[in-house]
């Protein structure tokens, strides 16, 4: 194989200054720590999401309550519901945004402030997306009863909503990070 002499990355060749790049790396570590905390506190996150979902359903006129990580809604004179499993939690939907954001920071190509703002918006979007999903499932149970409502909304509509939302979110997230004007042609 030929020996290739590529210009070695110089400190000045970094797109951020050394100090700024160190700050970016610290921000990346903080983001990874946040991710770890989210995973460690998964049950608390699920309880919080169930509380929020029940509150939103009540706001929309559907009798709803939370028990542990489950959301219960009024249907046919009784209460029925579903539990938020680990795989359905926002903590896991937020994972790709935090991971990609941390990686982008490590490269030194994006500013920490912009990256944190993008991650915050993306995670906020993931929370709303998940609430939309829970709302659809809860609403369907309320309207059509548990058997039909849950069966028809949980797997198909719920997954479609989260997939379409995540596809749009990830494309927008990478687009927003890529628009950081730091990198300019020399």
């Amino acid at each position: 194989m030929n020996t290739i002499r590529l210009d070695a990355p110089r400190p000045a060749g970094r797109l951020l200054t050394t100090v700024a790049h160190r700050r970016a790396q610290l921000a990346a570590v903080a983001m990874v720590a946040t991710l770890g905390a989210l995973l460690a506190l998964m049950r608390s996150v699920r309880i919080g999401e169930a509380m929020l979902s029940a509150a939103l359903l009540r706001l929309m006129g559907t009798g709803a309550d939370r028990v542990g990580t489950a959301i219960l809604v009024d249907t046919d004179g009784a209460r029925a519901g579903f539990a938020i499993a680990s795989g359905c939690s926002t903590a896991l939907l937020a994972l790709p945004f935090i991971a990609v954001g941390a990686l982008a920071l490590v490269t030194g190509r994006v500013r920490p402030g912009r990256t944190l703002a993008c991650v915050a918006v993306a995670v906020g979007g993931a929370v709303l997306l998940n609430q939309l999903r829970f709302g659809i499932v809860g609403g369907a149970i309320h309207l059509f009863g548990f058997e039909r409502g849950y069966g028809q909304s949980h797997v198909l509509i719920g997954t479609l909503v989260s997939t379409v939302g995540m596809v749009a979110g990830l494309a927008g997230f990478v687009w927003a990070l890529g628009r950081d004007p730091r990198a300019t042609r020399g």
Binding site: M1, I4, L6, P96, H154, T159, V167, V174, T184, R185
Partner: protein, 449 residues
Amino acid sequence: MLVSLNLLAFALCVVFLAYVAVICISYLRLAPPPPGEVDTFGWHVVVPCLDEEAVIGTTLHRLLAAVPTAHLWCVDDASSDRTAAIVAEIAAEDPRVHLLRRTLPDARQGKGEALNHAWRAISAWEAGTRDRSRVIVGVVDADGELDAGALPTLASDRYFGDPTIGAVQVAVRIANRSTGERPAPRTPWRRRLLDLQDLEFVGPIAAMQLLRERTGSVAMGGNGQLSRLSVLDEIAERAGTPWHGALLEDFELGVHVLLAGHRTAYCHHVQVAQEGLPTVGALIRQRSRWAQGAMQCRRYLRPVLASRHIPNAAAFEIAYFLLLPWIQVVGSIVYAASYLVLFGYLAGTAGGPAGWIASGQWGVLPLVAVGGLGPFVIWGVIYRARVEPSLTRRQAVALGVANWLYSALHHVAIWWAVGRVLTRRRDWKKTARLAAPAPSPAPQPTPIP
């Protein structure tokens, strides 16, 4: 365990669907550029040759007619057949054809070395004659057919008419597809395999390149790449030679063009046609070589990410491409395991598949159709709409479904490449040409919308 598998499959699916959605949008927004002034440039086309007696004569005659202002440089890499003799005969009749002979032990060191040999010869030929940024050096494979209308389009302001553009890659089509000029194989499934390669080149690969037009990271391909001589000189000054030793020497060149501070562009309105591979074995071997080449190019990850010349979006896209083989390795395990789990549920639920569907899990099936098949089937539909309107709707959908099965070959190829990386093997046997194409008039430009 199942939750992790489910999440990983979902994450990979989201990334894949996001990518397909973005490249589809880029593909459907295409418009042709006005032609440029061909005579303000000097044009050279390099044709690397190794045992090409079956095709080289026809290829040169076609090129002479298609690009009448260009010089053709055939680099014979110590062929064991009559390749050099055929080129010498044509060169004796037409001064635009040049034969460059490489002999063993220096020959057969890979396509990159043959191209470097041609670059030295063209450099010497053009020494002191004109502005080297107005000299364009193209590469066409020995079985390649370049459009007759190629040069005016390439000289336009969107391509070499723009001084910031350092290199351009043109669209690639499969010449021996069912609807092509060259004879297609008689066996139906072989014809289908060639059609699928054509769909792939003119569909998702073209769409990826059009997305890269927007991000600023267009990749060079092995066939139909063109660069300014001044840019090749600059790369040689920085890195020894323009082309290097990776199995994806074409991709490497594109990265070097970007690292040197120039832009790369993709021209979908000019096409170069090449022979497709009619057997699954040959196709998997080719794709393994590509995958191994991409793995070798990981050494460019750091320079790309550290480069001031490469915009963020381009750097991220190139990083994604360089990591793609490893993502595919993980994906091949995750997707296979996901399907196994699905079949396990179908078989293990009381009442069999019907019982499983009745238990409320029926929603998984449309999800598999939309998320699993959809991203592949859509290319059959787009192919009919934009490239091959002679296909019926049913044929387009069937081609799209076949495209899904075809994608499975990449999973086999990626593991072959992993095996070769682990055993440190870098040698690749050259794919043999099928047969001499029937002589025909100079190719006419086929409009690609």
